[in-house]
Symmetry: C2
Subunit: 331 residues, 2 copies
DNA sequence: TCGAGCCATCGAACCGGTTCGATGGGTCGC
DNA sequence: GCGACCCATCGAACCGGTTCGATGGCTCGA
């Protein structure tokens, strides 16, 4: 474990010159620089992170705060997102660090410590459910941040899909094929993306002359989905097109409908969202909306790095494009 | 951003006393300690990570080095593993940091830097494929580590399922039901767990009087699996029981067999491994071996923390228990 | 020939904690 | 009454980098 003083001694220069040389400062003479680098090579020198952080004020690490670790969205989505974060972070010289807060309170506490302990240079807030407290701390501290999965808020940088269009496109793809009795199986009512998706769905319905299209708010997976479908049937409403906001939800619904003797897509066409691996494993295979999780991750870090590099600028607002993936569950 | 000197000044003590008080050292008088803590409270003091690291030599962070981020094993397995790592790390006061090396060379480079830059207090090596270089560095440096998904090596701490038994139990569950024409769709030949699983499978076959049971080594997913099945059929061998070493592989095989007009489990019983979410989405639902990824994560960090706390002890070797989960794809 | 200005280098201060050895006051035993 | 010992506290050194201001040698123009 050699220190910069060892390098300086071996290269026959002062510690400060060694530091400058190692950081490619133009002030040092070419020949001196070479000598220092050679010394560093022979001693296999690696600057200690903590020391570097302490004096430079940068940690070269970025924190991901995710309450769920992608547990709610089955399979590939989260790992693809994570991979996007990682790749861009690494290319920028940053390390990715991870915390899963248990609840709102812990989330806020972690965020406070993150800032106060100068522990990371920035934070990615995944699916934050809260509007006030924690977010306020971050903004007030001028701490570099980016929110994923949350509608834009004043003064806060966000990145997400255009959820209105996602739902619009998914719905339209079914109506274009002639279906006229749609149902949206939505998420819990209190999320911004849920609201956005309801709007996109209703807009698409209206565009095709279908008014008062039904929306079911589903909080939970299998049981809640079954209940929503049952309620729809009992209300005596017809159904020939089902839009769901996640793929597992679509799969559950598909099973339930099939068990009722309905044919997919003959009687009911179905489209999900996320393009999870799951889509490959159903019978028929499930159509879905690819949300490009990897790009979501990429974009999040890009936003963050820009923010870190340029200091506090205006809040950014990025949109990640989506694409429809048509499979057997659509006509 | 208050520093410990601010606390000391406000509490009317020296910096060293403040530090001792904040670290619950018994030498400081109760009343003094309270004064210091009160001061820390009013100023909302949080010790800066980098400074603490530099002087104490501990980083309070643990690194996960995973070449695949669980991309090969679809869905829940990786996130459950990650969650296990995270929870135990957090309870121990540690943060989890993540790197995905592109290849062997980068893996080794990252590991070297990890140690040399004193960047983490320990490392979890996920599915390491290499025997020599990187591992040697770690052991030589006496750096706390634990290998996941790798058969025990001398001097190295490992944690994994008992892969021989996993395959044994899966195979036996089919043979017990009277099947006598099994096939193992295994992973690539050069992994230790692949070898172990082949052995478990063959042992189980022998125990039921089935000798020379066939094993197909599959490197890849869909195409490779189809080819393996085709080769088996062309060899004119019968098939009534299929064991695969991952669930996605089982799903691909199930589809292929169904398209050939075979009934599952009537004609061929199938069991996979990992108990991925996927098992819920196939028709029929897939039996699998639950490998307890969460416990794997827990155990990995526990091993590591012990190692960090007690200094270099003997290499540990942990086994995580597995359980069979019987679903519709088995008789 | 002299001063301005640049270039390469250096010593020292600094970042914010932890820890070591020293200090002074009080208690106790002889 | 005095030394031994303990207790609480303190100042200073230290961890290993980065950075600021100073320095001395050199070139160049007047």
């Amino acid at each position: 474990m050699s220190t910069i003083r060892d390098i300086a001694r071996l290269a026959g220069v002062s510690v400060s010159t060694a530091s400058l040389a190692l950081n490619d400062d133009r002030r040092v003479r070419e020949e001196t620089r070479r000598r220092v680098l050679a010394a560093a090579g022979t001693l296999d020198y690696h600057p200690m992170r903590a020391a570097r952080s302490l004096s430079s004020g940068r940690t070269w690490s970025i924190h991901l705060l995710d309450p769920a670790l992608g547990e709610n969205m089955s399979s590939g989505f989260f790992t693809r997102f994570l991979r996007g974060l990682h790749d861009v972070a690494r290319d920028g010289g940053y390390t990715l660090t991870l915390t899963v807060p248990e609840d709102e309170a812990e989330s806020r506490a972690v965020l406070k410590r993150l800032i106060a302990e100068r522990w990371s240079d920035g934070v990615v807030l995944m699916n934050p459910t809260e509007h006030d407290g924690a977010l306020g701390d971050v903004v007030a501290a001028g701490f570099p941040h980016v929110l994923v999965g949350r509608s834009p808020v004043a003064g806060v940088s966000t990145i997400d899909n255009d959820n209105v269009r996602v739902a619009f496109d998914a719905t339209a793809s079914l109506l274009e094929a002639g279906r006229r009795a749609p149902l949206l199986l939505n998420g819990p009512r209190d999320r911004t993306f849920t609201q956005d998706r309801a709007r996109g769905y209703l807009d698409a319905c209206a565009a095709f002359g279908v008014f008062d299209a039904p929306v079911a708010y589903v909080d939970g997976l299998a049981d809640a989905t079954m209940r929503a479908l049952a309620a729809h049937r009992e209300a005596g409403r017809p159904l020939d097109a089902l839009v769901t906001v996640s793929d597992p939800q679509a799969v559950v619904a598909m099973r339930a409908l099939q068990e009722d003797g309905l044919r997919i897509p003959g009687d009911v066409a179905i489209i999900g969202m996320n393009n999870d691996d799951v889509t490959q494993f159903t019978n028929p295979r499930l159509s879905s909306v690819e949300l490009n999780a990897y790009d979501l991750g990429r974009g999040a870090i890009e936003t963050l790095l820009e923010r870190i590099a340029n200091g506090a600028g205006d809040a950014q607002r990025r949109i990640v494009p989506h694409t429809l993936v048509s499979r057997e569950s659509c006509p």
